[in-house]
């Protein structure tokens, strides 16, 4: 018995236990996402990967593929909603792309390009958020945190540490680090940790490397995020 779902009318095979995201990626179908990463337990919070499964909205990164599902992904309606969700992430924090050292390598920015987001649409919140530059090699700029929890998961699941957590409720959510002082320098994070490199935006940065690759030559300056994502994630989902 062969298992198959359809995404935007295209039949796609899947194996038992795969999520819709995994099946799609393996078949070369890009579903926009920010909090998902194939190497970590899916989180399902950013909601960019919401697809319509038999008419119902489900998060592709957590929802299991099941035989016969009729899935809509690349529709005008979903693209419009995804654009607005991305805009929400932009206005919630302080994202000044032109002056951000992550520009061109930032997944939030790249997803925004992909979804053809041309403005913020919503009024900006301009929250007051801090920067933690205490660590000699790393820094946290809370202005750019989108609460995807990738650093939290990477630290727990790959580095076998517990450096990060998301604390607070609602709009007061914020990233905290595991040190009595509350400062990154007093945690046991190391430069070799996955958690130090996983941030999709410019919230966790490696110091002293900012402009080694000049603007204009960066990852998403030349490629769309769907290409990059499919190329890097297909392998990881498969293994």
């Amino acid at each position: 018995m062969s298992n198959s779902i359809t995404i935007d009318g295209k039949p796609i095979p899947f194996s038992e236990g795969q999520t819709i995201m995994e099946a799609a990626t393996a078949a070369g179908v890009y579903i926009p996402h920010l909090c998902h990463h194939p190497e970590y337990t899916p989180h399902g919070s950013c909601k960019l990967c919401n697809v319509k499964v038999n008419g119902r909205i489900c998060s592709a990164c957590t929802y299991p593929a099941m035989d016969g599902q009729d899935i809509l992904n690349n529709t005008q309606e979903l693209t419009d909603d995804r654009q607005k969700i991305t805009q929400m992430l932009f206005v919630e924090g302080n994202h000044f792309c032109p002056s951000c050292e992550k520009t061109g390598n930032c997944q939030l920015q790249a997803v925004a390009y992909h979804l053809n987001m041309l403005d913020d649409h919503f009024p900006l919140f301009y929250p007051t958020r801090a920067v933690d530059a205490s660590h000699e090699a790393l820094m946290i700029d809370h202005n750019r945190c989108i609460f995807c929890t990738l650093c939290v998961r990477a630290s727990q699941q790959k580095d076998h540490k517990d450096v990060f957590a998301i604390s607070g409720r609602g709009l007061n959510k914020h990233l905290i680090v595991n040190a009595q002082s509350g400062l990154l320098k007093d945690t046991d994070i190391s430069m070799n940790d996955q958690a130090a490199h996983i941030c999709p935006t410019g919230a966790i940065l490696i110091k002293h490397t900012a402009y080694q690759v000049p603007i204009g030559e960066r990852l998403y300056d030349h490629k769309q995020i769907d290409q990059v994502s499919l190329a890097s994630e297909t392998l990881k989902h498969d293994k």
Binding site: S45, D81, I85, L89, D162, G170, I176, Q180
Partner: protein, 607 residues
């Protein structure tokens, strides 16, 4: 090492699942959770400090910085507001010489707002150190202020201040047919377990917490497992731990019937849980009681003890070989913990963040084991059905909604309280019974439900028409609909758990957009923008909170579009910048709010 924390942890067997319980006691002892305690608990419970901090910062009743020795919270429910909460609170602040939201300089007292405390039939209400204050008036506030300033311990305050009424006004099917402790369990063993489940199935009992899922089917799924495992060996099923959870989080503003049921009919609720446990073969149950109902805790513990002594709880119940016990877990101020999977997270000692589904709690709930979560009233009805049979229940109600519904009636009426009606009862009947006059509309099912206008009172209480978890708030013609909506939207923005983008950001955007329109800063496109925002929050959010958070706007926009349109400025362009709003920070820094510190967007002559 701090002895108190050491003993407290020991008493809780160093279980991380008991974190909320531990933090509640620490908060009561120190009026906050001190840093040193966090370090010590992390050590003792073997969990990270970030886990503890994130839990503290998630729940409204935990604090990292000290609250007053007398910590006063005033319920910000719409019904409390309708009873004059705002001016009473200002008065309270004056009497206590404390700024709202802050702690008085001497550390003795703090005063702040809190979400609905479930005393809507006897408001304005509040809490002092977790215990309810009802029917607040200026003389009462004077009295309380004096008690506080004289530092009289809470135990010595006049009990009248804490008096909570049941206000049962109209009993029907369930409230008129209370069962004696043990009767449902005796009936269960006499009839047989599968046979009793068949009765509940025949009764077509649907969950009373709001969603209306078929109760017998939920229990069946929990026992049998998902369909693919349905035929696995009975021995394998036996090995599994299963759990029964009673959802008494009752956070929907305007609802208080579970408080009354637990105060007056706790035996029957616990009996329903025990019945369920026997049927699904569970040995452990939990009553998740919202923190606001702390005053019921001791009484409920006494009922549990009574049941243990009469052989209705504990080992070998009624000598039939079934072991089952119930633990009471208190919440700590988070509406989202009423959502069943968030509730389970909270029971496990974590932040109340709704899980991804599937898997559903019936297959993977508490500690990953099959778990039934039902509302207080659902368990109570199940116990009655076990005694009286499925037919007795299914006779009453409509085609799709069998039995009766217990309502918490409040707002503008002469006799607020508990009313029970057969499903299918028209709204008008309820209004007549409770003495509501000159009615503008009714909010059915709380803020997450629907606002109906006075043209719709022939509609019925029923899952297929007007579904409600019990909240029934009446508004008379003097009320301002936009202010009601505003109160509800603030509630959701405050209670959003923040897990998913559309709800976390969307509810705050919605709050701001509504304020903009209400303050008269909206222009032509702003109502359209408002509705568009509502749709995306409703459609794309992760859980029921976000999916219903925009309902107050959507249901009133549908009925009263002109109300919104009238608020808009009549200008031909859309201002992209709120001049006056931009001065907010400057005003705050200068501590000014006089007319001279405000600017209008448009010169009056152009309007």
């Amino acid at each position: 090492m701090n002895r108190f924390i050491q003993d407290l942890s020991e008493k809780n067997n160093f279980q991380p699942t008991h974190l909320l319980r531990i933090l509640r006691e620490v908060q009561a002892q120190y009026h906050h959770i001190p840093n040193a305690v966090i370090e010590q608990l992390a050590d003792l419970l073997k969990i990270s400090r970030t886990h503890i901090v994130s839990v503290i910062e998630f729940y409204s009743f935990f604090h990292l910085t000290p609250r007053g020795h007398y910590d006063i919270l005033i319920s910000d429910s719409i019904t409390d507001n309708m009873l004059g909460k705002e001016s009473l609170m200002t008065y309270f602040a004056q009497q206590l010489k404390v700024t709202i939201g802050e702690v008085r300089q001497d550390g003795l007292v703090s005063l702040a707002n809190t979400s609905c405390t479930g005393m809507c039939d006897q408001g304005p209400a509040g809490l002092v150190n977790g215990y309810p204050l009802t029917r607040l008036t200026r003389p009462r506030i004077d009295q309380i202020s004096t008690l506080i300033n004289q530092q009289i311990p809470l135990e010595e305050w006049p009990t009248a201040l804490f008096h909570v009424d049941d206000n049962i006004k109209q009993p029907d099917l369930l409230l008129n047919n209370l069962i004696q402790p043990g009767d449902a369990l005796k009936a269960l063993y006499q009839r047989g377990l599968p046979e009793t489940l068949a009765e509940i199935s025949q009764a077509e009992l649907r969950g009373r917490g709001g969603a209306g899922y078929n109760t017998a089917w939920k229990w069946h799924l929990c026992y049998e497992g998902p369909e693919e495992n349905a035929f696995c060996e009975v021995a394998a099923q036996k090995k599994q731990q299963r759990y029964v959870v009673c959802n008494a989080d009752e956070g929907e503003p305007g609802t208080f019937k579970d408080r009354v049921l637990l105060n007056a009919y706790a035996h029957q609720v616990f009996e329903g849980m025990t019945l369920c446990a026997a049927i699904i073969d569970a040995e452990q149950g939990f009553l998740y009681l919202r923190g606001e109902y702390l005053h019921l805790y001791e009484k409920l513990q006494a009922v549990l003890n009574e049941r243990r002594q009469s052989g209705l709880l504990g080992p070998n119940i009624l000598n039939r070989g079934h072991n089952f016990d119930i633990e009471i877990c208190l919440g700590a101020g988070a509406y989202i913990c009423g959502e069943e999977s968030a509730l389970i997270e909270s029971l496990e000692g974590k932040m109340g963040i709704p899980r991804n589904r599937p898997p559903y709690p019936v297959t993977q709930g508490y500690l990953g084991q099959p778990t039934v979560v039902n509302n207080v009233e659902t368990f109570m009805a199940a116990a009655a059905i076990a005694v009286n049979g499925g037919q007795w229940f299914a006779r009453v109600g409509t085609e799709k909604s069998k039995g009766s519904k217990i309502l918490s009636v409040c707002g503008d009426c002469d006799r607020p309280g508990i009313y029970e009606y057969p499903f299918g009862t028209p709204i008008q009947t309820v209004l007549d019974d409770c003495g509501a006059h000159d009615v503008l509309g009714v909010q059915i099912g709380g803020p997450s439900g629907v606002f109906i206008s006075n043209q719709e009172f022939a509609r019925q209480l029923a899952f297929e028409d007007l579904a409600t978890g019990g909240s029934f708030i009446i508004f008379n013609n003097e009320r301002n609909i936009l202010e009601i909506v505003n109160n509800f939207i603030h509630f959701f923005a405050h209670e959003s758990c923040g897990f998913c983008t559309p709800c976390r950001v969307g509810t705050s955007l919605l709050k701001n957009q509504l304020t903009k329109i209400m303050d008269g800063h909206g222009s032509a496109g702003d109502v359209v923008a408002l509705e568009e925002l509502c749709q995306i929050i409703k459609k794309q959010s992760h859980c029921g909170l976000g999916q219903t958070a925009a309902n107050p706007v959507l249901s009133t926009l549908e009925r009263y579009p002109e109300l919104y349109q009238q608020q808009l400025k009549k200008i031909s362009y859309e201002p992209g910048f709120d001049l006056d709003g931009a001065l907010e920070t400057a005003r705050r820094l200068a501590n000014r709010n006089d007319a001279g510190a405000h600017l209008t967007q448009v010169e009056e002559t152009y309007e």
